[in-house]
Amino acid sequence: MTKVGSEHAPERPRVGLFVTCLVDLFRPSVGFAAVKLLEDAGCRVEVPPRQVCCGQPAYNSGDTADAIVIARQTIEVFEDFDYVVGPSGSCMATIRKDYPEMFRDDPDWSARASALSERSYELMSFLTDVMGASLAGVSYSGVATYHDSCSGLRTLGIKEQPRALLSQVEGLTLTEMQDTETCCGFGGTFCVKYPEISVRMVSDKIGNVDMTCADTLLGGDLGCLLNIAGRMRRLGKTVRVFHAAEVLAGMTDAPSIGEPEKS
């Protein structure tokens, strides 16, 4: 990846990678892809070891008190960086939109939350909007369709950025599915609280993937991707599911999500 330059960013910004729980636990390869993409774009990347979760599971469950404690911890860990960047629209929307709201009535923390909020970005939007990055020499062989995850799309306005980056991958054809902006049914704890509705929603999503004849499904949020890949495996589909960062970083040799080890 080469950097085409941006007026906003410091020359070599110091970026704290917010790994996200799901990437940390399920798919470290997405984290390494994010590091590679950020470094190639000219960032100095650090991974603060004391980071954990953004607090969204507690916040969305109504447990605001715990969410606030976790948010303070995240702010402390990341506030010295030029930017905090994570490979998830959902987690970054929590930091960007929800943190300032959580501390609305707490002047000290409100300022710190807002300061962090303004410098926090989802990975692909950071690469395009802030770093003005472009790719070179990355290839992937396949026809892919991109699922727009809800928080990234509606809270952060992420729509064109991943497509702009993916269009630079050699050998990759992007095709749009119907209702790509419709929720896949993951919804955090929703998918286990209302499994039947969730499975109906993800089945509708997979029906739309099928209609495109794509062999690859990409997205920017691992929660949605685990949901879609999990349902695809159950249905015996062979569509490969990757986080878009893995494709952009040229790191697709590992099995796709839910796929067995290649023998």
């Binding site: 470290p28 070891p49 954990v52 109504g62 969410a67 976790i70 509705i197 929603m201 999990g230 159950r234």
Partner: protein, 473 residues
């Protein structure tokens, strides 16, 4: 009307398995969603109009006492009567008293969601009155003894065949002895039956899409003309409206009407937009002799005072449910009350109480599409999350969820322990899962694995792998 929302799960399952219902509800997705998108897309000033609509509602809500009193003064000046009802019982009692005073036997009704909310039909029927819904959709659900499953299209859950059967059963004794099965004929039957009822009616009850403070008028929009016949042919016209329906001027109502009709039906204007101002004046050729407005609070002032005020902007267009993937999967009946979908998931706990609507704020993925299409920008996901917060604070959340979220939060506050525990657990899961790539079953994950495999983790946490990489020279 009693809210019965406790069995959301069971009703949702039934709806998912009902192929007839699934076919009916799919018309929303293909028809109305596309029609709205076209109507909104054809209007360059839509976003500005949306902002104007939000501002009109917010201004009115901030000065609600002023505009309601102005409305009352204007209605009175026009010779009408305004009645204030604190709750459902008071509202029903006011209507009962009017019906009793005029010796009413037959009541015709235009579509009014607030009358469903206060359970007016049941109360009047218990008094021995004949109550007839005149909106075709409401007529059908009344005949079928069902609740509306949608606030604009009450019968969206019913197929034409089911309606044909229903009419054949109930209309045979009214001269329709042949089973009709095409929509035009079915609507024709409703028209024929209702036509004479409009003239027989002693009282006509309608709702209000808007109340105009400036002129003391009530405004309704319909596509069937039933509202006009209900409000003008009976000697007494009663308007039931919740207090947040008031707007300052006719011009304000017009702005909101443009938003409402596009958002609800994808149309530019409805067939009928009816403005009722007071009873018949000397020299008028028609119109009711009495005009009453029952202003219903039923929980609104409580909402006005707190964080849920934005919900009172709602103009009942139903765009939120038309675009809600949960509503589109299960329909309106699992929500258990008058208002389904995202707006209902907020309104039901606010009006009927948290205890009766515990599930509703959770039956949502917080995907935000409802807010995106809301013509008055109600932050529905934030309000639903706030309801979850109130439930958490009031211990309405079940022990399993509290325990699970609590454990996660406790662990998340201890980074060193968190990373040690997760590294060990992920190591085991990765080792077990990697031959197949995913799990068909996992302990404690039945909700996930009932319909999905669980993709196996890669076997190490990112943090462990990163630490290892950093140690390399």
């Amino acid at each position: 009307m009693t809210a019965a929302t406790q069995d959301f799960h069971a009703r949702a399952s039934e709806a998912l398995d009902d192929s007839g219902f699934q076919k009916s509800i799919s018309t929303l997705k293909t028809g109305f969603v596309a029609a709205r998108a076209r109507a909104v897309g054809a209007l360059p000033e839509y976003e500005e109009m949306r902002e104007a609509g939000r501002a009109i509602k917010d201004h009115t809500l901030a000065n609600l006492d002023f505009y309601l009193e102005r409305f009352e003064a204007e209605v009175t000046r026009q010779g009408g009567h305004v009645h204030w009802a604190a709750d459902a019982d008071e509202a029903c009692q006011i209507v009962r008293d009017i019906c009793k005073r005029v010796g009413a036997k037959t009541v015709t009704k235009g579509k009014s969601m607030v009358s469903e909310e206060i359970g007016l039909n049941q109360v009047l029927e218990a008094d021995g009155l004949e109550v007839l819904e005149t909106d075709a959709g409401e007529y059908i659900v009344q005949l079928a003894k069902e609740l509306p499953s949608h606030i604009v299209m009450p019968t969206i859950h019913k197929s034409t065949e089911a309606i044909a059967d229903l009419f054949y059963e109930h209309h045979r004794n009214q001269g329709f002895d042949k089973r009709a099965d095409n929509p035009a004929e079915l609507i024709g039957q409703v028209r024929t039956i209702l036509r004479k009822k409009y003239f027989e009616a002693d009282v006509g009850i309608t709702g209000a899409n808007f109340l105009i403070a400036q002129t003391g008028s009530s405004v309704i929009v319909t596509n069937e003309g039933n509202g006009d016949l209900t409000s003008t042919l009976a000697p007494v016209h009663i308007v039931t409206a919740s207090i947040e329906k008031v707007v300052p001027t006719l011009a304000d109502a017009t702005t909101l009407l443009r938003l409402l009709v596009r958002s609800a039906l994808g149309m530019e204007i409805t067939s009928y937009t009816t403005v009722s101002t007071g009873p018949r004046r000397p020299g008028d050729l028609d119109g009711p002799e009495e005009y009453h407005v029952v202003l219903v609070d039923n929980g609104r002032t409580k909402m006005l005072a707190g964080a849920f005020r934005p919900m009172l902007r709602c103009i009942r267009c139903a765009a939120c449910m038309n675009h809600c993937p949960v509503y589109l999967s299960v329909g309106g009946h699992p929500y258990g009350w008058v208002y389904p979908g995202p707006m209902g998931a907020v309104l039901t706990p606010m009006i009927a109480g948290h205890e009766r609507a515990r599930e509703l704020p959770h039956a949502c993925t917080l995907n935000g599409r409802c807010q995106q299409v809301c013509p008055v920008k109600i932050p529905l996901p934030d309000l639903l999350r706030r309801l979850r917060h109130e439930q958490w604070e009031n211990h309405f959340i079940n022990a399993k969820t509290r325990w699970g979220v609590g454990l996660w939060s406790w662990l998340a506050r201890k980074p060193a322990l968190y990373h040690a525990v997760t590294r060990a657990a992920i190591g085991v899961l990765g080792w077990l899962g990697h031959p197949r790539g995913s799990f068909r079953q996992l302990p404690l994950a039945g909700g996930w694995t009932a319909g999905r495999d669980m993709p196996a983790p890669q076997g190490t946490t990112f943090h462990a792998a990163w630490a290892k990489r950093q140690q390399r020279p």
